[in-house]
């Protein structure tokens, strides 16, 4: 049997993670897509695709553009809806030896509540990540994550029906991320993940056309890492919730920067596209760092910036 490095274990409220490394929603499918490349049980957790109340087709093609050290996407929450998830996808993935977290999205409070309630019934899903920060949908999405009142309302409503670990994913497209974080903390969130994508845009100067069908889209990848680190650091200093940091993490060094900024766990997004086994390599890199720096765990250096 495989043995895991016990020094890497972390807790996020109700759940135990083998290690701080999770994969980010929308970038790792349902995990299955990557099982040829790595052992999924190496991971602390997998956040599956954004799931909504009903089937969504998402935005028209083109949905992707590369930018300097980053990429824009405008997928727009394409998914088959929560019922298909519960009835077919869940059965395929429930036995993975890692924490499967469902990224819950919606256009209305009712939709978030409906999805959360249905996921609450699934035994092997220990947590949801409430996506109140998606820049790629016309209604709802980021709107909830950029207003303190709306953010706390949706979290409160979901909290009533969802009884396991409730992670809320925040948007960096705000004037004051600490205020939003505090509202969400007050409304009953167990943990925060940050950041979702930055709102951006790309243009083809020769064709004089936007590169995305939706004109604007969500920026991710190394380009956003400085902004993500700043958000994690600001929120870690000003709330008590465990934080899951993400945004441009490409290797173990980047992951450790987020831990130094105050993150308990981290997520790998865009990097999965470049090296489909990167998340498992980052787990190994974290162990190496502890060895090299002669540390018992990351507890001693978490948030020391």
């Amino acid at each position: 049997m495989k043995t895991f490095d016990k020094r890497l274990e972390v807790k996020i409220k109700g759940i135990n993670l083998k290690n701080p490394v999770m994969t980010a929603s929308g970038t790792f499918g349902y995990g299955e897509e990557f099982s040829d490349f790595m052992d999924l049980s190496d991971l602390g957790g997998i956040i599956v695709k954004g799931t909504t109340g009903t089937h969504r087709e998402g935005n028209p093609y083109p949905r992707m553009a590369e930018t300097p050290s980053g990429m824009l996407n405008a997928v727009g929450l394409q998914n088959k809806g929560v019922d298909v998830f519960c009835e077919t996808v869940y059965d395929r993935i429930k036995s993975y030896d890692t924490n499967i977290v469902v990224n819950v999205s919606g256009s209305t409070i009712e939709e978030y509540v409906e999805v959360a309630e249905k996921i609450n019934a699934l035994e092997k899903i220990p947590a949801i990540e409430l996506n109140i920060s998606c820049p790629n949908v016309k209604k709802g999405g980021m709107g909830f994550g950029t207003d303190c009142l709306m953010a706390s309302q949706v979290v409160e409503a979901v909290r009533k029906v969802y009884h396991k670990t409730l992670i809320v994913k925040l948007s960096p497209n705000v004037t004051n991320i600490v205020e939003i974080a505090k509202s969400v903390e007050g409304a009953g969130a167990d943990s925060l993940s940050l950041i979702n994508t930055l709102l951006g845009m790309a243009i083809d100067a020769e064709k004089r056309k936007p590169l995305l069908s939706t004109i604007t889209g969500g920026l991710s990848g190394p380009a956003v890492k400085p902004v993500a680190l700043r958000c994690v650091w600001q929120v870690a200093k000003n709330t008590k919730l465990p934080i899951i940091g993400l945004g441009g993490i490409m290797n173990a060094t980047d992951a450790i920067e987020f831990i130094l900024a105050g993150a308990t766990a981290i997520q790998i997004g865009t990097a999965n596209f470049i090296d489909p086994a990167i998340s498992s390599k980052i787990v190994a890199g974290l162990s190496e760092y502890l060895d090299r720096h002669n540390l018992k765990s990351f507890d001693d250096i978490r948030g020391i910036i």
Binding site: G26, T27, F34, S69, G70
Partner: protein, 253 residues
């Protein structure tokens, strides 16, 4: 089909024209089975500014030598950087990706333009392997843009259309009389307007037509949903449910 993420070694990098080059890549072990029309995601290491892998069709496979060939057109930063790779250097690929062309019928026509000719070599070989010599129609601007005609001729009855008439017939592939021969299936890969025109000709003649799309991709493995195409059953991933589609399943085709 199991997918791999592995280093190949560059055996040869030949410039075929000022904008096209061909890479011969050595796999260190036995190659897994690869279907014609499947593609790889290439990691571009050198040459700054390129974050994501680049999808490139598998041009040909040498099962005995465990080599694959890529045929690449220089269009931007990634392909530019890739064109400079030298023999002996390693190249990391995720492969084999996508579903590939189904081998259907006995009288088949393959129509390619631009870098879309790439997968037709492997497809021709696959037909040869089951005893069928396909017809292959290649379109390009002029004779200077034409390459690998010997290789295509070895595996197919090669037909050519050039815009300026410097080789084969003068005009677009859709002007070529070979289209009027009776075929069981047409396969096409190339610029979208060309594929649409060919699909239209096929439809007129009631021949099933497979098109191979080149949508922009981020992951190549069905995870990101960036590469979708609008089909009659809604959005489908080009990277896993394609890149080959029956033209009549697609909207806008």
């Amino acid at each position: 089909m199991k997918k791999y993420c592995k280093d190949f070694v560059v055996v040869e990098n030949i410039a075929l024209t000022p904008t096209f080059f061909r890479l011969t890549l050595q796999y260190p072990e036995k190659l897994p089975e690869i279907n014609p029309g499947q593609f790889v995601e290439v990691l571009i290491k050198e040459g700054a500014d390129v974050l994501l892998r680049r999808p490139i069709s598998i041009h040909d496979v040498d099962e005995d030598k465990n080599q694959i060939l890529l045929l690449v057109q220089i269009v931007g930063k990634g392909t530019q950087a890739l064109s400079k790779i030298q023999s002996g250097q390693s190249l990391n690929l995720v492969f084999p990706l996508g579903s590939g062309f189904p081998l259907r019928g006995e009288k088949v026509l393959l129509v390619g333009g631009g870098c879309g000719v790439a997968p037709l070599m492997h497809l021709s070989r696959a037909f040869n392997n089951i005893g069928i010599k396909p017809d292959c129609l290649i379109g390009c601007r002029n004779q200077e843009q034409l390459f690998s005609t010997k290789e295509y001729s070895d595996l197919s009855n090669l037909h050519i259309a050039t815009e300026d008439g410097s080789c084969g017939i003068r005009g677009l592939v859709t002007n070529h009389p070979i289209l009027d021969k009776k075929f069981d299936t047409i396969y096409t890969c190339g610029p979208t307007p060309m594929m649409k025109a060919i699909a239209k000709e096929a439809l007129k003649r009631n021949i099933p037509c497979y098109v191979s799309l080149e949508n922009t991709m981020a992951c190549g493995v069905g995870a990101c949903l960036c590469c979708v195409v609008d089909t009659k059953e809604g959005h489908k991933c080009t990277c896993t449910e394609g890149p080959v589609f029956l033209s009549t399943d697609l909207k806008d085709f």
